[in-house]
Symmetry: C2
Subunit: 132 residues, 2 copies
């Protein structure tokens, strides 16, 4: 079962240059952290603050490529956790078909924030995290 | 007239964290520099060294999105220079049509290096640079 999540917080440690985003259930209290890179932190931060950038950034480019090739991003899904590594998919509708494109959550999340589409996490992944 | 270029060199200054790539004409001696970010330097460096990454990086994701949506990257083109800013396009063939996707050269170049497609520069851009 997919559970809809929202970006709750970005925690950046200046000392060790570690960045973590906290995703929280939209209809509940469960939450979990994902470690991301500084590039993704900057990208997400700009979206949240609504900053316009004069040139398309890399995550804008992915969305623009999807649109120009006739696709429409529906949502992103964090669908698996293996060996402490999360796996995600961009779910794109094209000509009535659903195309799933594998990616890292650290790309999926800034892309979802930019496109303003829902972020889902598989219930099984959420379970794994909370049991650790 | 498009002129085919190749990546000749990456120059990184540790002191001021500036990174420049030098593109050189394939059939000639003209060359010009493009300033890029540290993220793109890392991405290009990994491609050139042929390092496998366990997860798709952001530039891999763009290529995979293009392919899964039925497109094929033909080449990248640096087509304009305005106010010291370069403009580029990814040229993608999809169902017999050419789709041009605007992007920054600092995305276009790592994508071209990854996909092993040619990098072109408009003759007019090359002229502007060398006359400055």
């Amino acid at each position: 079962m997919p559970v809809q999540m929202e970006l709750r917080r970005i925690i950046s440690s200046v000392v060790d240059d570690q960045h973590v985003i906290i995703l929280k259930e939209v209809d509940g209290e469960r939450a979990f952290p994902i470690v991301i890179g500084v590039f993704e932190v900057v990208s997400i931060g700009r979206r949240i603050r609504g900053e316009e950038t004069p040139r398309p950034l890399t995550h804008d480019l992915i969305l623009s490529a999807i649109e120009q090739l006739g696709g429409e991003l529906q949502d992103v899904m964090i669908n698996d956790l293996q060996d402490h590594t999360y796996y995600a998919k961009l779910r794109v509708r094209q000509a009535g078909e659903m195309v799933e494109i594998d990616c890292r959550p650290s790309d999926a999340i800034p892309i979802a924030v930019t496109a303003q589409v829902p972020i889902f996490v598989n219930e099984s992944v959420l379970g794994d995290v909370l049991e650790e």
